[in-house]
Every structure is written in structure tokens, then in C-alpha cells.
């Protein structure tokens, strides 16, 4: 079945937050700190306020005192990174608002700053232990000991963060580009000191989030305050530069990894110490559990995993498609590849020898114990592993493998849905949001199946908190597995009585749900220029029952494509003064159509009926996770150079 919102998206009729046009609507811009760490000693916005066409100006001089980010404020007198918000203007056009920003006078007292991961202030360590790591390392006959680093990556969803805010008497309506309409509603209501019921958040379409839009950011409250002050609707969309400075990034990491194994490949020790760059603030929702994957992907009796957050004067980190896991799997799966080389063992064979059947952090078996093993088999067959072609001249070819697991995808109750049936057609009512993954389409299919109706006869309402049917934020690849069972229950009731409400029951107590998968990559490396061309990628992921193979395939190819950018070209560059040097889509290199390798999706339907009543699990994040490690492992196979620092840049491959 095709995406239900397709006709709207190919005609320009799909309306995003930035497309809202209300009578008298104003446009806002935010003034941001030019210094990485400073105190404001004077701020004077009088000239901006007097500019023709300006209707409201906010700064620490006149804004309500609203707490934000731990001990900080909405407009704080202390600025902690280049891009920190310090004032905002609403005017009759974006151009006028920009003119006004230039008229705001600010004096600063510069403060000392720390920019790099190694220089920042270290927080309290998080430590996880299992068994006795010293014993484990003593038992080991082969040890891999290496340091890996991963870069700061920028989400760069094409639609920037932003919203259109307007007041209807004492109630606020926000058309927001968000992954979580209820998260925005609750946070904005709390910050403005309003009852939740008087804030309505609407997201009909949103132009990409990838994690950075899973929390409420300052712009929503700033837009609401400007609209209140001006008495007119205000649209505040971030410019691309602000998008790349202030609203999240994938944290950089430094990971020292020690893997100990017996000669037959059995792991006996995993010891890892990790630094994670949090940036200037802990914004909530960063959830970068880098030590997570080390604890679960392989069976291992002795483990020590330590993670330390590092605060720096750079933009704050936030969740980015499989936060923590993408970083960890690069290091862990590179180290597993190094181990397989040291043992002269096939990398897939090494992973099978250490197969985990239970969640070692909880001591509970997995619901679909064999699914990762099946993914290995599916991807191996689709790729024809370890078949390889020969390169020519300076161009060398190699193949690489990486696996992953992911704690998400199993669903986050609670959630509610309603189904109404009349005249051979049905309407599914939810208040989830479709962030471009096809959630709405899949939910219609689930209802249609249960009702015995053709899917074209089922429509869906979503993206409006006013429906009052709670749905969690679209994050953790959890949306389908959360909402799907609620819709199915509602449809079953509606089949009998024409109308039914369903709710998501809790996840099983005695089992652990995971998603997982594996990828194979073939690269060609030019040993004269260092150019890496990815020739083909094959992927197999466990997302339980495949409700819609078209949508699953799109998630798989999209995740791999982002993963290739993470592997090869994406990296936020920051100078010693904390200035981001590539905060644009010209200089921050995402993949383009011209970079596309052959992508083979070998994902098969593997219903997980113990997980929930639809058998389906999430697929949003996982396809990005193993790609970078598989690329680095393929590069080693091609030219014998082990890249332990992402991205795999040319200068790291030659010379």
C-alpha cells in the first residue's frame, strides 16, 4: 500500500509549520550569542523597538523570568555557547525582524571557554558492572585494546525547527514542527504557567526531525510571548545557521575499548571507558546511552562500562537517530572486527559464537530470541558474503560486516486511539504525529485488517492535542509498536458496535523486547587519492511483523544513507573559539543523489507476537546504526588501514 499522504506531498498541498498563514501574522528572528562564554553587561533594544514594522522585542531586559536548562533562564544574562539565545524580535517580515536584530546593542564580558571533548568539565561517571572485569581480562587469550572517536554530527532536517503561535483569548495554539505534540504542549504550558488544556499543539506534517525535535525548545515559548506582546500571530522558523548551532547535535565521543576473548572466539571481558560531549546544557531528551550496546549485544560474563559526560561551550547535544548506539556500535563493531582478524575467524562466525539470547542488563530472555541470528543469515545471503570482486590498479576493494541491537522499537505505553465505523468506511482517531515515517498509513492498515475493510476505506486523524487521546513522542522507534495495538483494540470494539476506544497495554514483564540487525558493505578505496566509494550495502533488520514493506524499505534505505554520511562526510567543525565553521548545508556534507550506492534491503517479516498484539516493532532508527562500522571494516579489508576515528576522511587513509 502506498503512503496515504502521498497526493498532498507531491502537489505542495501538505502544509508544514512554516506554511501556516494567519491574518496579521508577524515573523520573528532570534539574536544569538557571538561568544562561546560571556556575561551580558548591557543590553539596549530601544532602537530596535522604534524601527517601523517591529511589533515586539524580547530580551533579558524585559522577558518574564522563566527557568530553562537546569539553572539557566529563557534569556539568560550568561551565554554559554555561540548561538545561545539572547533576544528576539517580531516584525512584519523576516527582513524587518533581521534589520531590528542589528539595532540591538549588547556589551559583553568575555569568560574563559572550553570547546573540545578533552578540555571540558567532566561530570559524574555512570558505571555498569557485571562479573569481575579483572578476572575476565586475566582469562583472555587475545585482547583488543583500542581508542575510537566519533564526531559531532548535525541533524539538518530540511525543515528547520520552528512554529507559528497565536492566541485565542487566553488559549495558545502552536503549529509546531515537532516529534512530540504532547511534549511541547506540557512543557510550554509549564513554562508559561498555564493549564495544559489551554495549550493546543498541531503538527499535520513535519519536515524531518531525526531526534532533534523530540523535546520543546525555547523558540516555542519565545514565539508565544512575542505573539502575546504583539497581539498578533507570530511565525518563528530558525535559519539554517541557528538550526546548526542551537537545537541539538549527535554528541562526539571518545571510547577506549578492551575486548578479551578465548582462542575459540568466546568473549570473556568487555571493558570500556567513554567520554561523551554534552555541550553547554543538558537539555533533556539527549538519552545518549553510549554504554548500552556494550552491555547487551554479546554474551559476556565480565563487563565494566563507564560513561562520563563532558560539558563544553558548544551547542547542546540531543537525541539523534539511535542516540548513543550509533556511536557505540561504531567502536564495538570495529573492535569485534579487529578481534576477528586477530583470531583469523570469519566476523559473522565470531558474532554467532557470542550470541546473546537474554537481556543481560535485566536477566530476562528476549521475545524473539533468534531474530538477530536470522538477520545474519538474511544479510549474508543477500550480499553473497564473503564474495568479493577485485579492484583494478590503485583502486582496492573490500567488504565489511557489522551488527547491532537497539533497546527501542518495542513500544512505550500508554497510548490511546479511537475507531469509528459508518457506511463501510472507518476513521481512526489518534493524537500521534507522522514525522515522515508513514505512521498514519500503517495505522490505517492495522485498522483495515481488523475491520475487514479495504485500506482505502480507512482514514486517520492525527497531529492535534485537542483530540485528547494521549500518544507518546515519536522517538525510540516506538510509535508503531505503541499506537498499533491501541488502534487494533479500538478497531475490534468498533467492529461490534460502530465505535470503540483502545489503549496500549503494558509490555510483557518477564521478557525483554529488542530490535536488531546487520549490514554488509563493499567499498572501493583509491589508494592514490584516498577516495572511498561505497559500492553496495545489504541490510537485514528485525522489526517484527512487517505491516508495510514499502515503508519499511524506505526507512532502511534512508537510515543507511544517513549512516553513510556519518561514516564518510558529516562532521561539525568547531574552531578553538567555539565557532562552528560549517553551519550550512554547503559546508556540512550530507549525502546527495550522486553518492548513492546499490542498496539491498533483505529485511524479512518476523512477527514478534510476544511483544504486542500487532507483532510489529519499530524500524525508524536501527538502519543507521551499523553502517559506519561496516564501512570502516570494509576499508580495512580493502587497504589494511584501520580507521578508528569517524568520519573516515581521506587524510586518514593515505600518507
Amino acid at each position: 500500500m502506498k503512503r496515504i499522504e502521498g497526493p498532498e506531498k507531491v502537489t505542495g498541498r501538505a502544509h508544514y509549520a512554516c506554511d501556516v498563514r494567519l491574518p496579521g501574522q508577524l515573523y520573528a528572528r532570534v539574536l544569538r550569542s557571538p561568544l562561546p562564554h560571556a556575561r551580558i553587561t548591557r543590553i539596549d533594544a530601544a532602537r530596535a523597538e522604534r524601527l517601523a514594522g517591529v511589533h515586539a522585542v524580547l530580551s533579558s531586559a524585559n522577558a518574564p523570568d522563566i527557568s530553562w536548562y537546569e539553572e539557566s533562564r529563557l534569556f539568560d544574562r550568561t551565554l554559554r555557547f555561540i548561538g545561545d539565545e539572547l533576544a528576539a524580535v517580531a516584525g512584519e517580515s523576516e527582513e524587518i525582524a533581521e534589520d531590528a536584530l542589528r539595532l540591538i546593542e549588547v556589551d559583553y564580558e568575555a569568560l574563559p571557554c572550553a570547546v573540545g571533548l578533552e578540555d571540558g568539565v567532566r561530570g559524574k561517571p555512570q558505571l555498569q558492572r557485571r562479573g569481575d572485569i579483572d578476572n575476565g581480562l586475566r582469562e583472555a587469550e587475545v585482547v583488543v585494546d583500542a581508542v575510537y572517536t566519533t564526531q559531532t554530527a548535525l541533524h539538518n532536517a530540511l525543515e528547520p525547527h520552528g512554529c507559528t503561535a497565536h492566541w485565542e483569548d487566553d488559549s495558545l495554539v502552536l503549529h509546531e514542527s515537532t516529534q512530540g505534540i504532547f511534549a511541547v504542549r506540557d512543557e510550554v504550558a509549564e513554562k508559561l504557567g498555564m493549564p495544559k488544556e489551554r495549550v493546543r499543539v498541531i503538527t499535520q506534517h513535519m519536515g524531518g526531525g531525526f531526534g532533534a525535535k523530540q523535546i520543546a525548545w525555547k523558540h516555542s515559548v519565545i514565539a508565544a510571548l512575542l505573539a502575546k506582546r504583539a497581539g498578533r500571530p507570530v511565525q518563528l522558523m530558525l535559519e539554517r545557521e541557528a538550526e546548526n548551532l542551537a537545537v541539538g547535535n549527535r554528541n562526539a565521543t571518545r571510547q577506549r575499548v578492551r575486548l578479551g576473548a578465548k582462542r575459540d572466539g568466546t568473549l570473556c571481558a568487555i571493558d570500556v571507558h567513554i567520554l561523551v560531549q554534552s555541550g553547554a546544557y543538558l537539555v533533556g531528551g539527549e538519552d545518549s546511552d553510549v554504554i548500552g550496546a556494550y552491555q547487551t549485544l554479546y554474551r559476556c560474563p565480565h563487563l565494566r562500562a563507564e560513561q562520563v559526560g563532558v560539558r563544553t561551550n558548544t551547542g547542546p547535544a540531543v537525541a539523534f537517530r539511535a542516540p548513543g548506539h550509533a556511536e557505540a556500535i561504531f567502536a564495538l563493531e570495529s573492535a569485534m572486527d579487529e578481534l576477528s582478524r586477530a583470531l583469523a575467524m570469519d566476523p559473522i562466525e565470531l558474532r554467532l559464537r557470542n550470541y546473546a539470547t537474554e537481556d543481560q542488563t535485566k536477566g530476562k530472555p528476549y521475545t524473539s530470541v533468534d531474530s538477530l541470528r536470522r538477520c545474519y543469515g538474511q544479510v549474508k545471503a543477500a550480499f553473497d558474503w564473503p564474495e568479493r570482486r577485485m579492484g583494478q590498479g590503485s583502486k582496492k576493494r573490500g567488504i565489511g560486516f557489522a551488527a547491532h541491537d537497539w533497546a527501542g522499537g518495542g513500544g512505550w505505553p500508554p497510548a490511546e486511539a479511537r475507531v469509528e465505523v459508518a457506511d463501510g468506511a472507518a476513521r481512526v482517531v489518534t493524537a500521534t504525529q507522522d514525522i515522515g515515517t508513514g505512521t498514519g498509513t500503517a495505522l490505517c492498515q492495522i485498522a483495515a485488517d481488523e475491520l475487514g475493510l479495504p485500506a482505502e476505506r480507512v482514514s486517520i486523524v492525527l497531529g492535534d492535542t485537542r483530540e485528547g487521546l494521549y500518544s507518546p513522542t515519536s522517538a525510540g522507534s516506538a510509535t508503531l509498536a505503541t499506537l498499533g495495538p491501541a488502534v487494533r483494540m479500538a478497531a475490534a470494539k468498533a467492529k461490534k458496535s460502530g465505535r470503540g476506544k483502545g489503549s496500549r497495554v503494558k509490555n510483557p514483564k518477564d521478557k525483554s523486547i529488542r530490535t536488531c540487525g546487520a549490514q554488509c558493505v563493499e567499498v572501493e578505496v583509491d589508494t592514490e587519492t584516498g577516495e572511498v566509494r561505497v559500492l553496495r550495502v545489504a541490510a537485514a533488520h528485525d522489526c517484527g511483523r512487517v505491516i508495510n514493506p514499502v515503508l519499511v524499505e524506505s526507512q532502511v534505505i534512508g537510515g543507511i544513507t544517513q549512516g553513510l554520511g556519518y561514516a564518510l562526510s558529516e562532521e561539525r567543525m568547531v574552531d578553538a573559539c567555539g565557532l562552528v565553521l560549517n553551519a550550512s548545508l554547503e559546508e556540512y556534507k550530507v549525502q546527495t543523489a550522486a553518492d548513492g550506492p546499490q542498496l539491498v534491503n533483505a529485511t524479512q517479516s518476523m512477527p514478534d507476537w510476544e511483544a504486542n498484539a500487532t507483532g510489529a516493532k519499530g524500524i525508524g532508527e536501527p538502519p543507521l546504526i551499523p553502517t559506519a562500522a561496516a564501512v570502516a571494516n570494509a576499508i580495512f579489508d580493502a587497504i589494511g588501514v584501520r580507521v578508528r576515528d569517524l568520519p573516515c576522511k581521506r587524510e586518514r587513509l593515505i600518507g
Partner: protein
């Protein structure tokens, strides 16, 4: 500081549309704000991403890099001017989008190609959309959609 407005008549999707804009207003803002044609998207506003692609006298251009007043008398085509175009049908069939934000731009870049070259090769297709970023990573299906529109499966 009040900026004088200029009157300009834009010919968009075959219709004459008169607007009064500041001289610095881009074609993109004139389309999106003054004419209510929001299909072309503002994603970078500096000619890096292609989400604002429209046709100017049949050529694909970044509307954020043009001034509205420079487009008087030129033939402007936006996604709103397409009606059941084979490219639109093919995009749906090939699932050539996820969030859909870049989609109007992708389609207009291909529209420019197809008007010159009704049956383009893969290489020509990739070149035509290589200036249109898709952060969801739907490139493989975008190329597949263009192939379908070109009559190849």
C-alpha cells in the same frame, strides 16, 4: 527606516499576479508569502539545498537566490501548477519521499529535465537532482520514480 515597495507583475503557472514587495524580497518569499504558494520550501535560504526549486523560463532555479523584481515578465512554474503529472504519480508509486519537505523541489528539478529530455538516462536523472538534498535519504526511490516517469521500470 521604511523601505519603499516596488510593484511587480509575476507570471506564475500561466497567470499574471501583481505584488508589491521590497526590492530585496526573494522570489521564494514572494511566492510563499505574497502569493501563498507554499509548495517551494525555505530550508537554507542560501542556495545549498534545492528545496525551493521552481522553473524560470523552463529552467530549474533556486528561488531563494533570485530577487522577485528581477523575475518580472519571466515564466515561473511551481509545483502547484502541475496537475496529475507523470512525475507526481511516479513519486507516489516509488515511495520517493518520507517527510516530503524536499519533494516539490525534487519534482521541479526533474520537470525541467523531462521537458528537455523526455526519456532521460539514470546519469541525467541523478545529475538533475544532485542539487536537491533529501535528508530522509530517499534518493534511490527518487531515481526510481524518475525512471518510471521516463517509461522504464
Amino acid at each position: 527606516m521604511s523601505v519603499p515597495l516596488e510593484s511587480v507583475t509575476l507570471r506564475v503557472n500561466g497567470a499574471e499576479r501583481a505584488v508589491r514587495v521590497e526590492p530585496r524580497r526573494t522570489l521564494l518569499d514572494a511566492l510563499r508569502l505574497d502569493l501563498g504558494l507554499t509548495g517551494a520550501k525555505k530550508a537554507c535560504d542560501m542556495g545549498n539545498c534545492g528545496a525551493c526549486t521552481v522553473l524560470l523560463d523552463g529552467r530549474a532555479v533556486y528561488a531563494c537566490l533570485l530577487l522577485a523584481i528581477d523575475c518580472a515578465g519571466r515564466e515561473i512554474a511551481t509545483v502547484e501548477g502541475l496537475h496529475d503529472d507523470p512525475l507526481q504519480r511516479a513519486f507516489i508509486e516509488a515511495d520517493a519521499f518520507q517527510c516530503g519537505f524536499c519533494t516539490p523541489g525534487q519534482i521541479m528539478s526533474l520537470k525541467a529535465l523531462f521537458s528537455r529530455t523526455p526519456a532521460p538516462s539514470d546519469e541525467e536523472i541523478v545529475r538533475a537532482v544532485s542539487g536537491n538534498l533529501c535528508r530522509c535519504g530517499a534518493y534511490r526511490n527518487i531515481v526510481r520514480a524518475a525512471r518510471i516517469a521516463a517509461g522504464r521500470r
